[in-house]
Subunit: 525 residues, 2 copies
């Protein structure tokens, strides 16, 4: 560029590293007397939370935590984990919130791989940690959440920003459905932009009342703990997370916003006795929500927006923006539109659906499948200590999601499957997700998953595993007939197996187990 | 930081320069069929506008415009100037929208100083430009707006981001109340963050209908042309900008948002015959709005938020956030709260009010005055070709605003005056703005300004210049008595002069002219 437009030097006055720490620094003043967190009977204001985070950071420093150190945490959502989202990065350290539903061996793997210098643990998870240490063959320094609380008596640190906005602030492990979990690195700048983009994309109003449901060990709760400081939100925590309890908390605090997996949404819909008032804005992600759940949610006064993302993208990067043309659609058709993954969030540079063989974008025909590729500042810095996987994921200047999708004529993206979940039958790609959506419409079906079963003639055929609602009864033939009425015959399952579905620690259905089961049934002829 | 958290290299996939160009690139797809601009009978969608901007850029390139070139523009708000806000930066060139109300000599000064390679001019301003060229003693290449329109037939450029997010994208000249206008440099990153911060701070919903009132030659219309692309807003332009015409346009398009100077707000309030429905969200800035105007606006269904900023800060950086405690206040008291400048916008790192002698923050007592100092990414890159002024403005790592303010116990900042407008009487600082607010409450007063008059005993005393409403009559004694009933006696004007007030090209009252007039009256005894 022309030198004449260079300022003499970048100045302290006009350059600041982008970091979510700035949001809390501002919230401490701007939303000083407004509620920031409530758990049970304890409510704290933003000025209190700001002070506590700075004190907590000072206290963690006395335990030797410093720049670049990984602090592992085993804790459910709560004010403590929320405050650690600011205190740890304030030290220049790296937050490693570990999925509390993992088995001890995997926790041990993560503690080893992440180079954690300390583990902060909730007493309810002491046993899991002890077992993990057994697997590890050694112990790490441990701080109980209660001891952590006592650290807030330290003199507060001053706010300080990272020297480099690309500094790591979190390390989040993937669910590892295809091998060992990988450590995804987030940096300060990405978290800043994710929070700003979430406020813009979800149109967050000032001071929303936000129910914390998405576990903060998933993409740091979709980065919402940082977004809430931008708008002075009130985060509501509930240690007990049964649907009945969540409904009671929603009513008591007049919750206006939350994010949750479709399964949580479904449980809330099943339990709710009356529509919510005021209406609640909900983001849902993790799996495409069955249209039947969206229909029910709408009746209950929930404005559900389906979003899409991965651990590698800080959480959601696409959103199914409502279009007023949909108002006139039949509820069922409308819910199908809402189940699409939609369009890019404001902070995302580009999302494409690419035929990897040709390198070209697929046509916007709603039929041709390609792989979702993403570019932007909220794409991970890389996989920790795994250059090969990082290089693979970033081939050709894009992040490759591993998700198969189509693009509709209006530009909305819709996921058909994880690439490895696509069923190829007689040369046709069949989306397991599409069949599952139909199965979820069946009144007896509690949960369903479809995988490929070897087929003598067609190569593969769809095989449905179905978990029935309590007390419900049906037959394979009835299920198949139900599907054939609603989708192309070649897409209808050719096999139906009833029983409880295998799930991961986080409640995701383990398709790889079902794939093995389908293969075990043997080739269909 | 620890090298272990470095990714192998920054990748194309996970690093993107921050630029408002990305917003239009996204809007072209995400809001494709939604209206982007309307002027008269012509409405264009975001996909059309995106295409036009890329074609316009290609056309400008054929005229030799390239990276780092300044493109001067003399044009009123309209779709053309809006599109140039994307087309010029897409070329890596620098937008220099010149105040169309300036005199020819000042326009000539700016064209010379800015090193403009071309001037794009609206035919209504041909004469001004010709006169400016006379002063300049030479002509620059000129492109009429109509010729500019014909450039949109070029094959569209592809979207491209600046190699460096610190690249200049705009050069905006200050009003020059204290000497020659200074050229304030904005960069891509600052404009990106300003737009995001505006969406968050103003809580812009998806697809607002925005009336373009703030001239785009003021801080690029407070950066709103870029913010609108984030949320897919519909920008409404009206060539004719009389209050009656603006009211008609508001009603016709059901405008939901606009920004305007208090004087425009006052004129709309004076003319409006019935409350707006739906209510309209308004940002106002440029001068503290008289509480009487805020009261009227509230009755008409306008939710007015007072904001504060300078050309050097890309426009607004503080906002008077509504606090629900104010609901219960009397309208008059409430309007006084709303006339405060408030708290930092989300993208601003810090705003302080500093006693420059001690370097300390003033106490939050609502009384002690200091100077507003600002730090953040939406502080200008510097003054173009003026290192001395840049260094002076950035002393000690802060941008010094030259505005005198107090901080209230709740942290809200309130401007008392431009530092040079403070009246010092018997050692007491008297805020001219505070007296003016009282004068505006008087039913006969159309406009008012208070400056210092030399005083034998007190050093200075307040001298009020008052412009009366048409047909209104009052006396100096009545005005003084009116003030003494409402503020401390020592603050009430000791002199009142009636007559039309001198204003700058942009409608700002020229206090320096009034200061000369007050001195000419002679010392009071």
């Amino acid at each position: 560029m022309h030198a004449k437009f260079e300022s003499p030097t970048w100045q302290q006055a006009n350059y600041v590293a982008l970091s979510p720490l700035s949001f809390l620094k501002r919230a401490e003043k701007v939303y000083a007397d407004r509620p920031a967190t409530t758990c049970g009977e304890i409510t704290r204001t933003w000025s209190e939370v700001g002070l506590r985070c700075r004190s907590l950071a000072a206290g963690l420093a006395t335990h030797g935590v410093g720049i670049g150190d990984t602090v592992a945490i085993l804790a459910p959502n709560g004010p403590e984990l929320f405050e650690l989202h600011y205190a740890v990065p304030l030290l220049g350290a790296v937050l490693n919130a570990i999925n509390t539903r993992l088995d001890a061996e995997t926790v041990a793997y993560i503690l080893e791989h992440s180079d954690a210098v300390m583990v902060i643990v909730d007493s309810a998870l002491d046993k899991l940690l002890a077992d993990a240490f057994d697997h590890l063959g050694r112990k790490l320094p441990v701080l109980g959440i209660d001891a952590c609380e006592s650290l807030t008596i330290h003199s507060p640190m001053d706010w300080a920003l990272p020297a480099d906005e690309g500094r790591a602030l979190a390390l989040n492990y993937t669910s590892g459905t295809s091998g060992r979990p990988k450590g995804v690195i987030y940096h300060h700048c990405g978290a800043y932009l994710m929070a700003m983009g979430t406020v813009a994309g979800w149109a967050l109003p000032p001071n929303p009342t936000y129910l914390s449901v998405v576990p903060m060990f998933h993409c740091n709760g979709w980065n919402h703990p940082w977004a809430m400081a931008v708008v002075g939100g009130h985060m509501i925590f509930s240690r007990e997370a049964t649907p009945a309890k969540l409904l009671a908390v929603i009513a008591r605090h007049r919750v206006t916003h939350f994010g949750a997996a479709p399964i949580v949404l479904q449980m809330l819909c099943d339990q709710a006795r009356q529509p919510f008032s005021p209406t609640i804005k909900v983001l849902t992600a993790g799996a495409p929500p069955p249209p039947s759940v969206l229909e029910k949610a709408a009746l209950l006064g929930m404005e559900v927006m389906q979003v899409y993302g991965l651990t590698e993208t800080y959480g959601h990067i696409a959103q199914c923006l409502w279009h007023e043309d949909w108002d006139a659609l039949l509820p069922e058709v409308r819910a199908e539109r809402q189940a699409q993954q939609g369009l890019a969030f404001p902070m995302v540079e580009e999302i494409r659906v690419v035929d990897r063989a040709s390198g070209l974008d697929v046509p916007q025909d709603g039929l041709t499948q390609g792989e979702i590729a993403i570019r932007g500042n909220t794409v991970m810095k890389g996989y920790y200590k795994d250059e090969a996987a990082t290089a693979e994921a970033f081939k050709g200047g894009w992040f490759w999601s591993g998700d198969a999708a189509v693009v509709h004529p209006d530009g909305y993206i819709q996921i058909r499957d994880r690439l490895k979940d696509v069923i190829i039958s007689g040369g046709e790609n069949i989306s397991s997700v599409e069949i599952e959506a139909v199965l979820y419409r069946h009144p007896s079906v509690q949960a369903a998953a479809v995988v490929a079963r070897p087929h003598a003639k067609w190569g593969e055929s769809p095989c449905a595993f179905v978990e029935l609602r309590q007390g419900a009864a049906t037959s394979a033939d009835e299920i198949i007939a139900f599907c054939r009425e609603r989708i192309a015959h070649f897409k209808a399952p050719k096999t139906v197996v009833f029983g409880e579905l295998p799930k991961t620690a986080t409640g995701k259905i383990q398709k790889y187990v079902l794939r093995q089961a389908a293969r075990a049934i043997g080739e269909q002829s």
